[in-house]
């Protein structure tokens, strides 16, 4: 066994063309091109670097001299001969085996899928549930202040309209997890936001004037409130917040590269994943709303009809479903789902209060 390579005397950067071999006494002997012994040491005291790709192997002698060679197989054979080839070579064998690389690839795809589909949502649900109410209140107040500053303005609804909405809100909010006292309804003029309602983690529901004027039946508005209260109960807002920060963190941890490249590459998948999560949240909130509506004797399908009307108002007769990213949760699907809920209800989808909304 004779390995060809380069030897460096201790603490020097001058390379010497040299050969390394193992003596019968298990000493590492290094000779130069002229055959003169330049270094030797008991092989068990020599630190051999792990095999990695085609990298040169480094044999570090106890006196800080060092021999390096491209003959990876030769070094492995020498380690074998000295009875030293142990688990250190396992990772390298994995890396060089096509079979194991393919297995690793499949495992990677599977584990990333499991993490995104189940791991992150479960972690976000747990974190959202564990978040103390005081933090939820701070986040909610901050969010509301920002919205008020950037987009929303004071409501222009008449006191009688507000009273009407509050009455309906009270009917639904008694069914919420925190009881009627755990929620409040705020009125705002939407402006650029348009017809919309949103819920904050502390149980605040904000409704825009533009949404109110679109309402034709009471149980439509009750459906909207039920939906927003469900968002608050399930802490969907906080879950979005946590999922939004978990995904980039995981990408950095896995790639080990917090550079610009990593950040840019992480941006779009994060948006797409969040969109799919938000679709799931909307579905959950719709389902909860349907349950609440049935309990107060309303029609769950009313929310679906209202959503479709809002869509037509916003996007014309064809609706918004042809949106260019396809990210908008299809309103038609949501309406169909709600109608389905309504069909299974004991009321059979009949309208309780057909009188047009005030």
């Amino acid at each position: 066994m004779n390995l060809e390579g380069v030897y460096f005397f201790p603490h020097t950067s001058r390379p010497v063309h040299a050969f390394a071999s193992l003596s019968p006494e298990r000493n590492l002997i290094i000779v130069d091109a002229a055959g003169t012994v330049v270094a030797q040491a008991p092989f068990k005291a020599v630190v051999v670097s792990q095999r990695l790709g085609r990298l040169r192997r480094r044999l570090k002698l106890p006196d800080a001299g060092h021999f390096e060679t491209s003959d990876n197989d030769g070094v492995d054979a020498m380690l074998h001969q000295a009875g030293r080839l142990r688990s250190g070579g396992l990772i390298d064998r994995l890396e060089r085996s096509v079979k194991w690389v393919v297995v690793a690839l499949l495992l990677a795809v599977l584990s990333v899928y499991l993490l995104v589909a189940y791991g992150f949502p479960a972690a976000a649900v747990w974190l959202a549930r564990e978040t103390p109410a005081s933090v939820a209140t701070i986040i909610s107040e901050q969010t509301l202040q920002t919205l008020d500053r950037l987009a929303l303005s004071p409501s222009k609804l008449k006191p009688i309209q507000m009273q009407k909405a509050r009455t309906l809100f009270a009917r639904v909010s008694t069914l919420g997890a925190r009881g009627a006292a755990g929620y409040r309804l705020l009125f705002r003029h939407g402006g650029v936001v348009g017809p919309n309602a949103l819920s904050l983690p502390d149980g605040t529901v904000v409704m825009t004037d533009e949404l109110y004027v679109l309402v034709q039946r009471d149980d439509e508005l009750e459906g909207v409130f039920g939906h927003e209260i469900a968002h608050a109960d399930r802490r969907h807002g906080l879950q979005m917040l946590y999922e939004g920060s978990l995904i980039p963190a995981a990408i950095v941890l896995v790639t080990g590269d917090p550079s610009q490249l990593g950040q840019i590459a992480a941006a779009l998948p994060a948006i797409l994943i969040e969109t799919s999560y938000s679709r799931r949240f909307e579905q959950q909130a719709d389902d909860d709303s349907a349950v609440m509506l049935k309990r107060i004797g309303g029609d769950p399908a009313a929310l679906g009809e209202f959503l479709e009307r809002m869509d037509r108002k916003l996007c014309g007769q064809k609706g918004c479903s042809a949106s260019w990213l396809g990210s908008h949760p299809a309103t038609a699907d949501r309406a169909a789902r709600l109608r389905n809920e309504s069909g299974r209800s004991p009321n059979g989808g009949q309208t309780r209060r057909p009188a047009p909304h005030g």
Binding site: V6, F8, H11, T12, S13, R14, P15, V16, S49, Q50, L52, G53, R54, L55, R56, R58, A64, G65, H66, I91, L94, E95, R96, W100, V101, A104, L105, L107, A108, S111, V112, L115, T131, P132, S134, V135, I138, I251, V252, L253, V254, T255, G256, D257, P258, Q260, L261, I264, A265, L268, P269, C315, G316, A322, S323, W324, L325
Partner: protein, 357 residues
């Protein structure tokens, strides 16, 4: 072997760095690292980091000799655990009291010089070339000067002093690195770095000024096609999104251009031991192209292009960095230095302090 007298009178030789790794080879290492890191819930990450850095340093050759990386994964793991415990402490205390975050921020500010110095020192001391180690000899005071005082001055002067703060950081980084006890040294005029930032600002203004006419030129003919405002809206969404994306990418390119030019400036003026000159000839536009197309390809391949993208960047960077050596580079001798724990380095990398040029 001992006729160094003849070496020193030899003509200077230009050695260019060369990266010999391949995307396919690194892909195998990366995917095994990835799976083992996930399976061990992140613990293997420390070993993965060492293997990755060994792969990149060990495949970077100067004058036909590779660099090498020596860090111990166990130290990195301990550093990461401490960083994680601190992070957990931060998030728990921030829950209990909202102002705890402020206290942690102040603590971090005081710890910053130590984090910067220990991170750079760990990295340098674990890197070697031809059996001789690099070292970093920056002091805590120097780090506070470059990383706290100068950024503070830049902020209170409404960023007008920012290029000088950048230069202070580069000086701290380069002038405190040593190889075999011999110092790296760089020096360049304030105007030369201001010029780079002014160019960046000019590019930004040019881009914004260009964006309006381009948007009008592209969108106007489309708008004239249909008179119905509703269908027109749907028709315009696609082109607007594409234009916006193009604009975003162009905006991303500017910091890359500025950074590349400042690296060329700082490294191009660097000498080692007052004799060997460094040359950095990275093309700013080419770098922007590589980084952005890498990001794009990594994105559309859901991450699987990542190993190739890193190799591609490493290959380009190496090919444009060289050393004009006045001697054979073999008269360096290592100094006695002890490698220290990776704690500071790992905290710094967890917080992504962005230490470097």
């Amino acid at each position: 072997m001992s006729d160094s007298a003849t070496d020193s009178v030899a003509a200077p030789t230009l050695h260019t760095l060369e990266f010999r790794g391949t995307g396919g080879e690194y892909f195998r290492i990366w995917i095994v690292n990835l799976v083992l890191t996930i399976i061990t819930l992140g613990i293997y990450g420390a070993w993965a980091k060492v293997r990755t850095l060994r792969y990149f340093r060990g495949n970077t050759f100067l004058a036909d000799h590779p660099f090498d990386y020596h860090a111990s994964p166990v130290r990195i793991l301990i550093g990461r655990i401490i960083a994680l415990v601190l992070l957990l402490g931060y998030s728990i205390s921030a829950r209990v009291h909202p102002y705890a975050a402020v206290a942690w921020g102040i603590l971090l500010l005081f710890a910053l010089p130590w984090l910067v110095v220990s991170s750079l020192r760990f990295n340098a001391r674990n890197t070697s070339y031809r059996n001789v180690r690099f070292n970093f000899v920056g002091s805590l005071g120097g780090a506070a000067y470059a990383y706290i005082l100068w950024p503070f001055l830049a902020v209170i002067t409404l960023l007008t002093l920012w290029p000088l703060a950048h230069r202070a950081r580069d000086y701290f980084y380069i002038n405190n690195h040593t190889f075999g006890g011999k110092a790296f040294f760089t020096k360049f005029s304030g105007w030369s770095i201001y010029r780079i930032y002014l160019l960046g600002i000019a590019m930004l203004f040019g881009l914004v000024l260009l964006a309006v006419p381009v948007a009008i030129l592209v969108l106007l003919p489309l708008g004239l096609l249909k008179t119905d405002p509703k269908t027109m809206g749907a028709l315009l969404v696609g082109p607007i999104a594409l234009l916006y994306l193009a604009f975003l990418y162009a905006i991303y390119a500017i910091p890359i251009v500025v950074r590349t030019m400042s690296i060329n400036l700082a490294l191009g003026n660097t000498t080692l031991d007052g004799r060997h000159e460094l040359r950095s000839t990275l093309s700013p536009l080419r770098m922007a192209w590589i980084v952005l197309s890498n990001a794009f390809l990594t994105l559309i391949t859901v991450g699987f292009y990542y190993p190739w993208s890193r190799v591609r960047l490493a290959r380009y960077e190496a090919a444009h960095l060289s050393v004009l050596a006045t001697t054979d580079l073999d008269e360096f001798t290592s100094e006695a230095i002890a490698t220290q724990g990776a704690i500071g380095e790992e905290i710094a990398s967890f917080l992504d302090l962005g230490i470097g040029l």
